[in-house]
């Protein structure tokens, strides 16, 4: 009997201990007293379990207490000041709070050794950071761009700071005329950017390396590039154009006049695919904004435009001849391949435009013209060969017809006998 009683007691103890044992095996997030309440609340206090589970911080093992203090594992003391509960975080303090971890290289190394830890330092140099330090809490802080609960890594395409979403994130404030009114800055940047060649490259071509707001302005250290540094910003991608511009007569002239390099001709947010008419004296010219008929710049623009147009015409002419030969069944693959060199020369000439020196442009134009001329000759030779073949065919068919007729007559002759 005593044995039976002891057995029953042991079973009862086991049954009572079972839920505790299971709870101990669950990850910390599952036993989150904060979520128990906040998932049932309305916005802005609502934080759903799904939101929190998707957050990179929760995935790395951080809890609500990491930012808000308190004890999420104990429903009774979750919001206890004794447990360090801080409650709602003041906007002015959020940047420092994020920076307390993200600025600590030793701490961050354990999660992602390659992640930068200079965000806070950079932020302090940004327009946002400087204004925040001056007491303006309307400026962007970490959570405005990255989100609050449910922060995703920037590499996630759903993240608000993923390259494809950056412009939309910045636009939330910078395209809001009412919100930006007190700062007295334009609000058409997003409209300009979405009609630009850079936006097209990003969204239509899917080129994630194409520039978005942060590429030129910086992200944590976001600020408008100064007049002097615009060319440096563009040159991170357009290296050759920048080198040629720096060595050109325009460099000193622009600096003296206070013109912001590249932007003077190409604009900033609304950058369009450059056309050959930009360096000309006709419609679409940017040279005539400063130069007028008779001056050296005007002459140079006219000359450069003429050279590039001539090369373009030569290439088009050569292509047409080769196409005609190819349609006639002639093999002109080699010439077509060579003609690609003329296209390359045209591209180089268009880059050389940034020297604003006709003689420099001429080097590439001359090389391209020579190739176009050579391939055109190959096309003409192919067409000549085609005509020769057709004439040869005509003569051969006459000869064959005569032989066939001769055979026919001979057969009739021998069969008559």
């Amino acid at each position: 009997m005593a044995v039976l009683r002891a057995g029953l007691l042991a079973l009862a103890a086991l049954a009572m201990a079972w839920p505790l044992a299971v709870a101990a095996q669950q990850p910390a997030a599952a036993a989150n007293a904060c979520l128990d309440c906040h998932s049932a609340m309305d916005a802005p206090l609502q934080v759903t379990a799904a939101q929190f589970a998707a957050d990179i911080h929760a995935q790395k093992g951080l809890t609500c207490a990491s930012c808000h203090g308190g004890d999420p594992s104990d429903a009774g003391n979750a919001m206890s000041p004794a447990k360090g509960f801080r409650g709602h975080l003041d906007r002015a303090k959020i940047v420092a709070l994020c920076g307390s971890c993200h600025g600590d290289a030793a701490f961050m190394r354990q999660y992602d050794p390659s992640l930068r830890t200079d965000q806070l330092a950079q932020y302090r140099t940004s327009v946002h950071g400087k204004k925040l330090a001056a007491g303006d809490t309307h400026v962007a802080i970490c959570t405005d761009c990255h989100g609050v609960h449910g922060i995703l890594p920037a590499s996630d395409t759903h993240s608000t700071v993923n390259p494809v979403n950056v412009a939309t994130t910045c636009k939330r404030c910078h395209a809001d005329a009412a919100y930006m009114k007190s700062y007295k800055i334009p609000t058409d940047q997003y409209a300009g950017y979405t009609s630009s060649v850079h936006f097209a490259a990003m969204t239509e071509r899917g080129d994630l390396s194409a520039p978005t707001c942060t590429t030129c302005h910086g992200n944590h250290g976001a600020a408008p590039p100064g007049v002097a540094s615009v060319a440096n910003v563009c040159s991170t991608c357009h290296v050759f154009q920048a080198q040629l511009f720096d060595a050109s007569p325009h460099k000193a002239a622009f600096d003296a006049a206070g013109f912001p390099g590249c932007v003077t001709c190409h604009s900033n947010h609304h950058i369009q695919k450059p056309g050959d008419s930009m360096v000309s004296t006709g419609a679409g010219s940017v040279c005539t904004n400063c130069h007028s008929e008779g001056d050296d710049g005007f002459k140079a623009a006219e000359n450069i435009h003429g050279q590039i147009s001539t090369l373009q015409e030569r290439i088009a002419d050569s292509k047409a001849v080769l196409q005609q030969a190819a349609h006639s069944g002639m093999e002109v693959g080699e010439a077509e391949l060579q003609l690609a060199q003329a296209d390359d020369a045209l591209t180089k000439a268009r880059v050389a435009v940034h020297t604003f020196t006709p003689a420099k442009v001429q080097e590439d134009v001359t090389a391209g013209t020579a190739v176009a001329e050579k391939t055109r000759e190959a096309g003409i030779a192919a067409l000549r060969e085609r005509d020769f073949r057709r004439k040869g065919l005509g003569l051969s068919l006459i000869a064959i017809l005569l032989v066939v007729a001769g055979f026919g007559l001979y057969i009739r002759e021998i069969e008559r006998k």
Partner: protein, 360 residues
């Protein structure tokens, strides 16, 4: 004695020339309203000769490696004197030869020329048709252009559907798991050595059998001649029939020249094994019917893989086709069966080929 007479005398003294050519002098060919069908075999032979000559000329410049094949064909087409003509004639003549071989086969079938004692002539002829298709398949890859590369990939994949040995056949044909430079070298070997050696032997046997049994007279005409022997007509093989054959060959030569000059055979873009297959890859026209049929067979038929079933069906059809002269006498209304099968095969091949051309 004139010079030609002296040469004739010299040859006759040493080789018995007159005895050698005597059978030719006495050889005759039946002459009736369907005799023109007889020219199809000779025309196929002529085109085979054209292939041989142009093929040897192409060999002087062609280089069978993945790195040089395309460039060498480009060189032949652009730099070698009349290289364009030789290459174009080789390509056009190959297609005409396969067409003529098919036409010859169907004419022999419908005129019932395969009847005893010519069963082996039929079998050797059919083997030659299969060899012609083998020549086409192996030769198609040699310029190493994109279309040829992917068509060969598809073609060798189909061979892989043969049960049990399919994979081994594919590996044997490709010289590995994939179509590579090794496949090109291998196909070149098949095209210029293996297939010509086999074809020459079988062609020799085929011609020997044609000479031995003479040319068949269609049963209907034979009956007419039996009823009225005065209607029987024959023409001498030499020179009458041969001259007519020569006339046809000359016309074919003119046609080949015209096709080569007006529609030179395209070279296309060089094969890139790493590029994705272009859309709408199709084999040469003489494989289109089989290709389209395989595409139309459901993926699974009674738990058997559709493609496997298709390949087996084609194999069985080819075997039955080859044995037709032996099966016909054993069947009740055999000639009607053969006629029906012939019409069905022609309609099937024609419809499927047109369907494949129109299909996307």
């Amino acid at each position: 004695m004139s010079t030609p007479a002296r040469i004739h005398h010299w040859l006759d003294e040493r080789f018995g020339w007159d005895d050698l050519v005597a059978p030719l002098r006495h050889k005759t060919v039946p002459r009736h309203r369907l005799s023109y069908w007889y020219f199809l075999g000779g025309m196929t032979l002529f085109l085979f000769g054209v292939q041989l000559c142009t093929g040897i000329l192409l060999l002087l410049y062609y280089r069978p490696s993945a790195g040089e094949a395309y460039e060498s064909v480009q060189y032949i087409s652009t730099k070698v004197q009349f290289g364009w003509l030789v290459r174009s004639i080789h390509s056009w003549s190959a297609n005409l030869m396969v067409f003529m071989a098919f036409a010859h086969m169907f004419s022999v079938l419908f005129l019932r020329a395969y009847r005893k004692p010519r069963e082996l002539t039929w079998v050797t002829g059919l083997l030659l048709l299969f060899l012609a298709m083998g020549f086409g398949f192996s030769g198609y890859l040699l310029p190493w252009n994109t279309l040829a590369f992917f068509a060969t990939k598809v073609g060798t994949e189909v061979a892989g559907q043969v049960p049990f040995v399919g994979h081994s056949i594919t590996v044997f044909l490709r010289g590995g798991e994939d179509v590579t430079g090794a496949t090109l070298t291998r196909f070149f070997g098949f095209h210029v050595a293996v297939l010509p050696a086999i074809a020459t032997m079988i062609l020799g046997l085929h011609l020997l059998l044609v000479q031995r049994f003479g040319i068949s007279v269609p049963p209907g005409i034979e009956k007419e001649w039996e009823r009225d022997p005065s209607q029987r007509r024959e023409t001498r093989f030499f020179p009458n029939f041969l001259l007519r054959e020569l006339m046809a060959w000359y016309v074919a030569l003119g046609l080949l020249g015209a096709l080569a000059a007006l529609f030179p055979w395209e070279l296309g873009a060089k094969a890139d094994p790493f590029a994705p297959a272009p859309a709408g890859i199709k084999p040469e026209w003489y494989f289109l019917a089989q290709f389209q049929t395989l595409k139309l067979i459901p993926a699974k038929v009674l738990h058997i893989d559709g493609e496997v079933l298709g390949v087996l069906a084609f194999g069985a059809a080819a075997l039955i086709w080859m044995l037709l002269p032996f099966l016909e006498p054993k069947l009740k209304s055999g000639p009607r069966w053969v006629l029906g099968l012939g019409i069905f095969a022609l309609a099937f091949l024609g419809t499927m080929t047109i369907y494949a051309y129109l299909a996307k």
